[in-house]
């Protein structure tokens, strides 16, 4: 069981580091999705360990929420891209200080 939890922690860390270091909004968003999926893996692994279904059901809910998040996120990134012809998070820097 521990292996799965360790794997989920590794995936979560990869996602987290990706969000902090990548510059393309789409890739940043993919890294966020990786973090959500790492959580799903942890939920399912813990559900198996505890022998109840709560974690597995949670994984389904998380998938639905993640799908909704994709819709909203891609809409926002698309709008920005059409305006600026760039999806880089460094270019969006009008708001500061």
């Amino acid at each position: 069981m521990t292996q799965y939890v360790v794997l989920s922690a590794i995936l979560f860390t990869i996602g987290c580091v990706g969000v902090l270091t990548r510059r393309n909004a789409i890739v940043v968003f993919m890294c966020v999705e990786l973090m959500l999926n790492a959580s799903n893996l942890a939920f399912v692994a813990f559900a198996k360990q505890h022998g109840n279904l709560d974690g597995q059901i949670t994984a389904f809910f998380v998938m639905v929420v993640a799908a909704a998040e994709v819709v909203i996120g891609l809409a926002i990134i698309m709008t920005i891209f059409r305006t600026r012809r760039s999806a880089s998070v460094d270019d969006a820097s009008l708001l500061k200080y």
């Binding site: 979560f12 813990f46 505890h50 109840n52 998040e69 926002i76 709008t79 305006t83 600026r84 009008l94």
Partner: protein, 530 residues
């Protein structure tokens, strides 16, 4: 494997929640089928009716709730224990609904900008193209903002009432997703608005990733997502303490991001500045109320037995929020950013209240619980904020709203009433006596002192003094500085914005002079169901 038990849905108690959700869905249908010229009236009418009906529902439910299993709390656990309809939930529901009514009125304002709302004519049209010009000429506007807002209100009601981590996560997302979109819909300065939406979305999704992984670890620790079961597990010390500690930390990242506490405040000024001002007003007030409700429920109900491990963290976050918020607010030259940093400082003050005593049986006579103090502070803060941002939307020049502070010079001569009302809101945020802010600060500081968190209170008093300086600086600019060029002009609002400002100012004044009834109401709200 446990048997599946069909949950009983307590329709009467959940009535306010269901009305708001139903109206949001109905709004989507109206948007799809009603002709364009009818939509504005239909959507505004639908949203206002829904919110008022839900508010009446909250009052009826609040009159009706009974003591839960002979404990200290009143209320019920609905839908198989996932939603707690208890006193604090109902108080927060009422507050969120009242603020949302103000939000709808601000959204519907069309007088300020020549007969159109503050939202983009057509969000899909790229700024500076023929498509955008065509949408502007045709006087188009997005009436989708009302259903989006109603979904956000639903999330704000679900979030603090959630009694397990899954429902809390769903509430968090339902609250956030519409707000990401609403931030990007400004009519003017659309690049700023879109950038605000992108930043809010990416950082918000990042933080909800933390929240979710924290929830997974806490589930791994306790074997259940239910708050009562987690509390039981913490008391009996069943699992690995590392899981509990890391899980608590990650959950706090997600929640503290939503309230904009340091070090998770980076999005606050950008989003507050870039979003359309009505959205900023609604979001600043509503999100903070809902998220603090959720923070208190999670920390008091699920992790109350583990308070010695999370209290030091909240001490540090509270002190940092107050000082960083107040110090950075002083350096701002934009009024919306200034209010954003001031909201970061207020987050610190409210966290000071969260650190107070928890149970009513530990109190001496005349003391109040931290829950009451925080609920009262949230009431004062919510109304002052929505009123202040409504005033910001009135001060305009040819390019739309004038948010640069030095352009506000001479506002006292240009429009004494608007300047006086704004000065009053600023004094309330500074915590001057005879305003609601003073009573709110007094309440949170006294509960923190009673709990022995005196270093935080000392820091809070010093931060209040720094913050008072910055509010008084804005008042000085409005009244005593010579106007630059033509000076600011004040647009005459319709009755909608005027009502919101008047109600905000009235609540701020009344709560400063006679805080008793609302404090009593918070006391009647009682405790969380544990």
């Amino acid at each position: 494997m446990t048997e599946f038990v069909k949950p009983s849905i307590d329709y009467f108690e959940l009535w306010p929640l269901l009305v708001v959700f139903g109206v949001a869905c109905l709004g989507v249908v109206v948007e799809a089928f009603a002709p364009r010229r009818l939509r504005y009236v239909a959507q505004v009418g639908l949203a206002l009716t829904g919110l008022v009906v839900a508010l009446v529902g909250v009052v009826l439910v609040a009159r009706d709730v009974t003591t839960y299993e002979d404990g200290a709390a009143r209320g019920i656990l609905a839908v198989g224990g996932t939603i707690a309809v208890d006193g604090p939930s109902l108080f927060i529901w009422g507050l969120v609904l009242a603020l949302a009514i103000g939000g709808v009125l601000l959204f519907a304002e069309r007088h300020l900008d020549g007969g159109v709302s503050a939202f983009a004519g057509q969000a899909a049209a790229v700024p500076g193209t023929d498509a955008e010009t065509a949408a502007l000429v045709a006087n188009r506007e997005h009436t989708e903002v009302y259903p989006l807002m109603m979904f956000a209100v639903f999330g704000m009601m679900l979030f603090p009432a959630a009694n397990d981590l899954l429902t809390m996560f769903v509430g968090l997302e339902v609250l956030s997703l519409p707000l990401y979109l609403l931030s990007g819909l400004a009519r003017r300065r659309r690049l700023l608005s879109q950038e605000a939406a992108l930043k809010y979305f990416l950082l918000g999704a990042f933080s909800s990733g933390f929240f979710l992984y924290g929830a997974a670890l806490l589930y791994g620790y306790a074997g259940s997502l239910d708050f009562a079961a987690i509390n039981e597990a913490v008391r009996n010390d069943v699992g690995s303490p590392a899981l509990l500690l890391i899980g608590t930390g990650l959950l706090s990242v997600g929640l503290l991001f939503k309230v904009g506490a340091v070090p998770f405040q980076a999005w606050t000024p950008d989003v507050y500045q870039g979003a359309p001002t009505p959205v900023t007003a609604f979001m600043a007030a509503g999100t903070k109320v809902a998220a603090f409700g959720a923070i208190m429920r999670l920390f008091y109900v699920a992790l109350g037995a583990d308070r010695w491990s999370w209290q030091p963290m909240l001490w540090i976050v509270a002190i940092l929020s107050m000082f960083v918020g107040a110090a950075l607010a002083i350096t701002q030259s934009d009024i919306k950013r200034l209010l954003a940093y001031s909201s970061v400082a207020h987050t610190g003050f409210i966290l000071t209240g969260v650190l107070g005593l928890q149970a009513s049986d530990q109190l001496a006579i005349g003391e109040i619980t931290s829950l009451q103090a925080v609920l009262f502070y949230l009431t004062t803060y919510g109304f002052a904020t929505i009123g202040a941002f409504a005033v910001v939307s009135l001060v305009r020049d040819a390019g739309g709203e004038t948010t640069a502070i030095d352009r506000w010079a001479g506002l006292g001569k240009e429009s004494p009433v608007v300047a006086a009302v704004f000065a009053f809101f600023l004094l309330a945020m500074a915590g001057i006596p005879l305003t609601s802010g003073f009573v709110g600060k007094l309440a949170v500081f006294s509960v923190a002192l009673a709990a022995g968190a005196w270093p935080v209170v000392v820091a809070a008093v010093i931060a209040s003094i720094i913050a008072a300086f910055l509010y008084i600086r804005v008042i000085k600019v409005m009244y005593f500085d010579e106007p630059v060029g033509d000076g600011p002009s004040v647009a005459y609002p319709s009755v909608l914005t005027a009502t919101t400002i008047a109600v905000g100012a009235a609540v701020t004044l009344v709560l400063g002079i006679v805080p008793g009834p609302v404090l009593d109401l918070a006391a009647v709200a009682g405790e969380f169901i544990r």
